[in-house]
């Protein structure tokens, strides 16, 4: 499969994926809010309401989701600590529930390399602790369950 996921240390997750497009376009898709809205699929039952990017070092990243029960239901705020167009960006990321309760924080590094019109993007997520890293994987499981739950159900019944 094209997407590779690894956990090289106790606190990191590394995702590597290639795209059949020049990195200029991949970069734009990753940093332009209008483009981001097209691919940042919200968890089932959620709607992405805020998507703002200040494209510079020290600039802010702001995302918010609402659900039928809460507005906002979840927010993500970060600050860019590196921003080298088409090559590399780093931002902090703090996720909070609508109540303000902290849901997680991490540092995310994006690296882009292009060869022959194909772009390889590598995302390195660094969490505060192993439990936080494992928790992110577990909550990802929750969000993804709609797609995979029949398979899961079969597993659990086994």
């Amino acid at each position: 499969m094209n997407l590779q996921i690894s956990t090289p240390t106790d606190t990191t997750i590394v995702l590597t994926r290639t795209f059949q497009a020049p990195r200029r376009l991949v970069w734009e898709a990753m940093t332009d809010p209008a483009r981001m809205r097209c691919w940042m699929l919200p968890p089932p039952g959620f709607v992405l309401t805020v998507c703002e990017v200040e494209p510079r070092v020290g600039g802010a990243l702001r995302l918010a989701w609402k659900s039928g029960d809460a507005d906002p239901a979840m927010t993500l705020e970060g600050v860019f600590t590196e921003f080298a167009p088409h090559e590399r960006m780093v931002h902090t990321e703090v996720m909070k529930l609508g109540s303000g309760e902290l849901a997680g924080s991490l540092l995310e590094l994006h690296e882009f390399a292009e060869q022959g019109g194909v772009t390889t993007m590598r995302i390195t997520q660094t969490y505060d602790s192993k439990d936080a890293r494992d928790g992110a994987i577990a909550s990802g499981m929750d969000q993804g369950m709609e797609a995979g739950y029949q398979q899961l159900d079969a597993l659990l019944a086994a």
Binding site: A21, I137, G140, E146
Partner: protein
């Protein structure tokens, strides 16, 4: 939007695994049957606190308990629930879905004048 067709049983499983102490218990039990004291000790947890977590896991049918004399022995049910495979597989699905959407977007961007 994907239709939300939730299985109450799976909600219990996800809830049960959403707590680090309970994941630690699942990890311990993946090595074999343990009594409640053995489960509580490495978590620096009181016996009642550990019992509470085990009850949540029991509710999700991830753990089964049997009483032998004065010991409460716990063992993992749903052995196929292997941490690495299951957790990373679902995490992968989320990102794969996003990146598939990104592929579609990039095709549109390439086609645009």
């Amino acid at each position: 939007m994907v239709s939300v067709d939730r299985s109450p049983r799976l909600d219990l499983v996800f809830h049960a695994l959403a707590h680090p102490a309970r994941r630690a218990i699942v990890r311990q039990l993946s090595n074999g049957e343990r009594n409640l004291s053995e489960l509580a000790a490495p978590l620096n947890m009181t016996f009642p606190a550990a019992t509470k977590h085990v009850r949540v896991l029991e509710g999700a049918r991830l753990v089964r308990r049997r009483v032998v004399g004065r010991q409460h022995l716990c063992r993992l049910h749903a052995a196929p629930l292997k941490e690495a495979m299951l957790w990373t597989e679902q995490f992968r699905r989320n990102w794969e879905a996003r990146f598939d959407a990104l592929d579609t977007l990039l095709d549109e961007m390439k086609a645009a004048p």
